[in-house]
Symmetry: C2
Subunit: 480 residues, 2 copies
């Protein structure tokens, strides 16, 4: 193909309009750059249209349903409540359209040119955009790759791939599963499991890859297992899945557990999969952008690829497949293009789960902190001793802080309990500012509030939490 003078000149071209792409586009426009954003499907990407947003509508609905069932305690009397998934799907559709319209309007207000089509690199400074019969060539000064990723089902599930739900397809489910099998151990698996359990499914979770535990700090894992047991969600751990069958509308998973072959059946199967980067169609080999073995694009803290004028952000790069990462990288890339030396830093990236109760975590887990050679102290406060949690009837969970013994600097904060997701930002701010325990002890906390749980977790580092009974002499001795 000869492009020659037919190429459109453009300043910054961004391939992919998910959170990474559209944040990059708007930030670049704010900084005075002229931006062309190419999206092959819908603005907002997987996150807005199929991932984060729909899943949170599901978890919010499940949380409300549970809350309604507890209403009588609170003087709220009425007929039985039933759940209508179709109605929720309508609500979901409406909210997604509303949010997508918002992103479109913002792009327009920022004078971002939006193209619908598939984009790929023709050379180090040219991108082709294809849409049906139409084909355009853009010569760019800078490019940002924000093409995201695709769930990759494990080998045993590939043959039945169309029938098995993953994190991008589960939001389209049109009925509440009678018996839901979940394969996974991350926040997504937990969110889906707890939401459908609340809405009436019988749920079994098979931890992926033979794992012993969930992907959280060990104390959260312990609390999670207690909570899941109470919810009658079964857990299969340390197992290796061998085979998946689908007969008469039932899935049967065959797995090996402690040397024995066992099976488990369900009406639906959800797999929280690994993410494969969407790079196949990009023509990366033509432009010398390096990828790691698994295909993710290598980037530095400015989101810069091995080609200095080309950037990559989000799920197409290494690291956790989280929108928060894509958003930060997107803004950082745009700033780098504009000559600002900002960097992304994911040491204190929050991992949150909209479970019942929610989980929020940032910084090092206890094991990570020890493995890195830190001499640590642990402060932990049970929300059952928190006034607000008690009055609200939300006594499950705790807040745990991990501190470096020598420097008294906080290393990690792990929360499970109502309000954890909002409260984690206090922890993240503290972690980022290298707060010492006194920096969280000195401030004032509203009373009564779950916030006080964070204070008492930090006070517990000094054995000074007010609502923790004093340790016996023996316990104190053990600590020393």
């Amino acid at each position: 193909m000869v492009v020659g003078e037919l190429a459109h000149e453009c300043d910054v071209i961004i391939i992919g309009g998910g959170p990474g792409g559209y944040h990059a586009a708007i930030r670049a426009a704010q900084l005075g750059r002229s931006v062309t954003l190419v999206e092959q499907d819908q603005l907002g990407g997987i996150c807005l249209n199929k991932g984060c947003i729909p899943s949170k509508i599901l978890t919010q609905s499940a949380e409300k349903f549970t809350s309604f069932q507890e209403g009588e305690n609170w003087g709220l009397e009425g007929g039985g409540i039933s759940f209508n998934l179709n109605k929720l799907q309508q609500y979901k559709q409406q909210k997604i359209e509303q949010l997508r319209a918002g992103v479109e309007a913002l792009c327009q207000a920022n004078k971002i040119e939006i193209l619908n089509g598939s984009a790929f690199f023709l050379s180090e400074d040219k991108v082709g955009v294809e849409k049906g019969d139409k084909f355009d060539v853009f010569r760019f000064r800078n490019a940002i790759i924000a093409t995201g990723g695709t769930p990759e089902k494990p080998p045993w599930a590939r043959e039945l791939s169309e029938l098995v739900f993953d994190q991008h397809s589960i939001s389209d489910l049109s009925e509440i599963p009678e018996k839901l099998l979940i394969y996974g151990s991350d926040y997504i698996a937990l969110e889906i499991g707890m939401a459908f359990q609340a809405l009436g499914s019988k749920v079994t979770m098979i931890l992926d890859d033979g794992k012993e535990d969930f992907d959280f700090d060990q104390s959260i894992c312990r609390e999670l297992k207690r909570i899941l047991k109470k919810k009658k969600i079964d857990i299969v751990k340390n197992s290796e899945v061998l085979e998946l069958q689908h007969k008469e509308d039932m899935f049967t998973v065959t797995f090996e557990l402690k040397g024995k072959i066992e099976t488990i059946s369900g009406t639906h199967l959800f797999v929280s999969t690994t993410i494969r980067p969407n790079t196949n169609q990009l023509g990366l080999s033509r432009i010398g952008v390096e990828q790691c073995a698994a295909g993710f694009i290598k980037v530095d803290a400015q989101s810069r690829t091995t080609q200095k004028h080309i950037f990559a952000v989000g799920d197409v790069t290494e690291g956790p497949a989280l929108a928060v990462k894509a958003i930060k990288q997107g803004k950082t890339a745009a700033e780098a293009i504009a000559g600002i030396q900002s960097q992304s830093d994911f040491h204190f990236i929050p991992i949150v789960a909209h479970t019942q109760p929610p989980i929020a975590s940032a910084g090092l887990t206890e094991k990570e902190a020890i493995n890195m050679g830190n001499d640590i102290e642990i402060g932990q406060f049970s929300m059952s001793a928190n006034g607000f949690s008690t009055l609200a009837g939300k006594k499950e969970g705790f807040i745990k802080v991990i501190s470096c013994k020598e420097k008294q600097v906080l290393l990690g904060i792990h929360m499970v309990g109502t309000g954890a997701i909002e409260l984690i930002s206090a922890g993240i701010t503290a972690l980022e500012m290298a707060a010492r325990d006194e920096d969280l002890i000195f401030p004032n906390y509203p009373h009564p509030s779950i916030n006080e749980g964070l204070l008492e977790a930090v006070e517990a580092l000094r054995n000074q939490a007010i609502h923790i009974p004093p340790k016996s002499k023996n316990e104190q001795k053990l600590k020393v």
Copy 2:
């Protein structure tokens, strides 16, 4: 009365078992002091038994009731919900007893001697404790006065005082008022007004003392007025109440407004009153503890009175009548007694309201910042542009940050919207650590979350919030 050798020797005596008193008692015990705690009524004080805790049970219930009414959007279908206040009263009683038992158990575990009775100073080192016919004398090394305060109704309401509800008696209300009149402009007036409106009352708020506005930052006041209008809660401002009458189960308030005499009637009247310190029975004149003109005990940042070995904490001291103040002062007093040089600092005390939506505020308001001579910048982000608020159907509110233009240090954070109370601790931590705007821009915020609203409010200081459309050239010029 001759006491002589009959006095019991004691180390630290604390008069009053509310949040200030019991936090002081436990902290002093943690620090190795021997503590005697005298409470004339019930442990936990007004806060636990009649104030903060019961009021939050009411506001939580109202919030749930509202949420239930919106359930249909979320696929939750069922019969009409009705509200049974008696049932909520049972729940309240149960929770109060549970929390009180917790405080009692903690005091016991900390080997705190609890006495039931009225305490007063006999001399600079002796306290008498009276209970019925029994009278004991305690010779103390240190004393902490934590006797709290009593609502003082305005002069026009005193004659009918028994019939008029205040912040200590409202939680005993046995029916939902048909037409509730509220006199006040603080967080308590707003909580009570919005809660009963949600539960079915027709509510009118008369701002106290002829005020023009509520006790919050001007932007929150503006949003509040919009929200209250939507809820059909009427507001009477700039008025002077002249008279209160009660006839045939109806209250009639007569007030002057712009030179005209008007009246308004309701079935119930709630007054969010000023607090009078409980010092009358203490015999303060005998011990040389100074009080300010309004009767509050003068204390320093260590909660020390003008008698160096006697401390005072909570509502009996000057400053806002908030449990958070009492708690901090209580711990500080105990630490001072133990020789630790800690201090209370209420520059960044959170003011929160469990309204619908909630309000949380810390640091300087816009007006205060300007009046103190600061050259300020304002960043404000509407929660209607926040992804999580949108999907949750909770689009009301905003987050506003006030920053010093020269130093880029945050001076105040004001929030109204779902999750504000939990999120304010991120703001308070930032304020206490003298965070600059970059300290809140650098961290990662979970997506989607209301936390991102805080980030975008700070980004708005630089005109770089992603979800705020760019200002027109004219607006930008105006700013410069």
